[in-house]
């Protein structure tokens, strides 16, 4: 927690909702006492059963076409671990071995007797069931309530649809059972399986669609809430913070201007600037350097950039010269504003730093003054660029810097 000088409430605290104990807790996987991932144990706690019952059920379903394995994996994937501190406790490997042996024995038995083939019907039913189960356990309790009443309403509202669906299921199931006896007639079996599935889809489709829509809506709502919270946090950390500082420094005009200016810049960046690496390109680097000088000296710097390119060594040296020119203008010119214009052309990069301040006489600058001769002109020439200073007392100063672009 950082120091907060404001008197207002912390925005992030406000966005948190108080946690109330839930009557029907969501499925979580406990770490303590788990065998594989804690799915069976978590589900058992949810259903208020002994975990052994569910573990046996998973093993049995695994023997039937591997459905148990599928359900287990799906639940594992869609549930979260229970929150706990410290090292997760170890597993009881003896029990795992026991369940594994049981599973293998049952599989072997199933193969030998041919009892483990359930056909396509079991698969579709199982998949649908697992899907619904996952949606169900992911939902909040009050949402489940709404879905339940929604489903009942759906069925009530469309008796015709429900009737046709039920009829299809009954027909399909009867036909399926009737054809079970004649194993050689595979096509009618497939047909009736299809009829059953169609009936179920017909009944459940509107409900499932509503369910899906509801989930999407919830997701959008959550994203919007997160954005709002982020915005509140940002305004709090930046704008409110600065306003407090401005009130405290109300009798120091320099500090107030500096604070307001740096906050304006920060806010503009946040609103309009694409989130890019601040040091990757020439235009971004010029803006960054200018921001630093503004902060240090409290003189606003207006920046115009045309074109952009990646930085290379020559341009980095140029940036140093640009910085020195800005510092000179901010320190000595006594101008209300400094204009910086950067233009990136195919062959070269040009930067102009201009102020309408005092100006000076170039010939009267002593040789040992490092600022202009060394830091600006000398540096540019060492890196193959050039610098020109145009100034006269009372006429302001303009520094023109040119650097060849490195062709890559």
């Amino acid at each position: 927690m950082h120091f907060c000088p404001c008197t207002c409430d912390d925005a992030r605290e406000m966005s948190e909702t108080p946690t109330i104990p839930e009557a029907y807790p969501r499925l979580v996987r406990p770490l303590r006492g788990r065998l594989v991932a804690g799915v069976a144990q978590g589900a058992a706690a949810q259903l208020r059963l002994d975990p052994v019952v569910l573990r046996l059920a998973f093993v049995l379903l695994t023997v039937l076409d591997g459905l148990g394995l599928l359900a287990y994996a799906a639940l594992w994937l869609f549930t979260s671990n229970e929150q706990s501190e410290g090292e997760p406790p170890g597993r009881d490997w003896g029990q795992i071995a026991a369940y594994a042996v049981l599973g293998m024995a049952l599989t072997a038995f199933g193969w030998l007797t041919g009892a483990s083939t359930g056909g396509i019907g079991t698969w579709s039913i199982a998949l649908g069931g697992i899907g619904t189960l996952i949606l169900w356990q992911q939902a909040e309790p009050d949402r489940r309530q709404r879905w339940m009443t929604g489903a009942v309403r759906q069925v009530r509202r469309s008796w015709v649809r429900a009737g046709i669906g039920l009829l299809l299921i009954v027909t399909g199931a009867t036909g399926f059972l009737a054809s079970q006896g004649q194993l050689n007639q595979v096509p009618p079996q497939l047909l009736f399986t299809g009829v059953v599935a169609g009936g179920m889809v017909l009944i459940a489709a509107p409900w499932l669609a509503a369910l899906w829509k509801e989930l999407q809506k919830e997701r959008r709502e959550r994203i919007r809430q997160e954005e709002r919270a982020e915005m509140a946090a940002h305004v709090h950390d930046s704008v409110l913070h600065t306003l407090t500082l401005i009130q405290r420094n109300a009798n120091d005009p320099f500090e107030v201007t500096r604070l307001a200016r740096s906050q304006e810049r920060e806010l503009r960046n946040w609103l309009y600037q694409p989130k890019a690496d601040a040091d990757a390109t020439m235009a971004a680097a010029v803006r960054r350097v200018a921001a630093e000088i503004e902060d240090e000296h409290g003189v606003p710097i207006e920046i115009v950039c045309v074109g952009d390119c990646d930085l290379h060594d020559g341009l980095r040296a140029m940036l140093q010269a640009v910085r020195q020119a800005m510092v000179n203008a901010a320190k000595y010119a006594e101008a209300p504003v400094i204009s910086v214009y950067t233009e990136v052309e195919p062959e070269e990069v040009t930067v102009f730093v201009r102020d309408r301040g005092k100006g000076f006489n170039m010939d009267e600058v002593p040789d040992d003054r490092m600022g202009i001769r060394q830091s600006i002109i000398g540096r540019m020439e060492r890196h193959g660029g050039s610098a020109r200073v145009k100034t006269e007392p009372g006429e302001g100063t303009e520094v023109m810097l040119t650097m060849k672009r490195e062709q890559s």
């Binding site: 309009y272 600037q273 115009v304 045309v306 074109g307």
Partner: protein
């Protein structure tokens, strides 16, 4: 005297501008949203409208569309804190004769209003930069070469504006008259408004820069 209507949804800002304007300017009224602006322009008949870009009810662009669409000859100077390329290019394409930012000093704003009322264009350094960028950034074949490119002289003038030069300083630098500088800027404004280059709008939207 130039008759001016101030359109902005911030009351504090309107009174601030009123206080800062020079004696050549007469403020005939204020408006705070699109509806009241359109009504005020019809009834007060100002020479120049100082137009805020972001306002309730569609913003400055909506005012431009409704007023200029009805054949009015009133001139607009856009005034904004935004400086985002799409806003700047948007109001200029919408028919404003200039764009300045709200940080402008009272004296400069007075000059700009007088200039716009004379039928000339007013470019802030940043707007000049945007135009240079927009017209330079493409090698795509143009539909109308006259409208779709800048002359060398226009480019020079824009470059000097971007460097922070006033019109008088530009005239001195290029050894031309201030009137010629104004002609160049007006010609750039015309190209900016009439050029069919769809890259112009696309460039502005793609470049969400300050």
């Amino acid at each position: 005297m130039v008759k001016v209507l101030i359109v902005d949804d911030h009351r504090l800002f309107r009174s601030g501008v009123r206080a800062e304007l020079g004696p050549q300017i007469e403020v005939v009224g204020e408006a705070e949203d699109v509806e009241s602006a359109v009504t005020a322009i019809e009834s007060l008949k100002p020479d120049v409208v100082l137009l805020d870009v972001h306002m309730p009810g569609g913003g400055g662009q909506e005012v431009l569309r409704r007023v200029l669409g009805s054949g009015s000859a009133v001139r607009f100077l856009a005034l904004s804190v935004s400086d985002a390329a799409e806003d700047v290019i948007g109001v200029i394409r919408g028919g404003a004769r200039g764009y300045v930012t709200k940080t402008i000093s009272g004296r400069e704003l007075t000059d700009a209003i007088v200039r716009v009322s004379d039928g000339d264009a007013v470019f802030s350094p940043r707007l000049a930069g945007f135009v240079l960028d927009a017209f330079a950034s493409t090698e795509a074949p143009s539909i109308d070469p006259e409208l779709d490119s800048l002359t060398t002289r226009e480019r020079e003038v824009l470059r000097l504006i971007a460097r922070g030069y006033a019109y008088k300083e530009i005239a001195k630098e290029l050894f031309i008259s201030v009137k010629t500088v104004e002609t160049h800027v007006s010609s750039v404004l015309r190209k900016l408004q009439l050029s069919n280059r769809h890259e112009l709008s696309r460039w502005a939207t793609a470049r969400r820069l300050v």
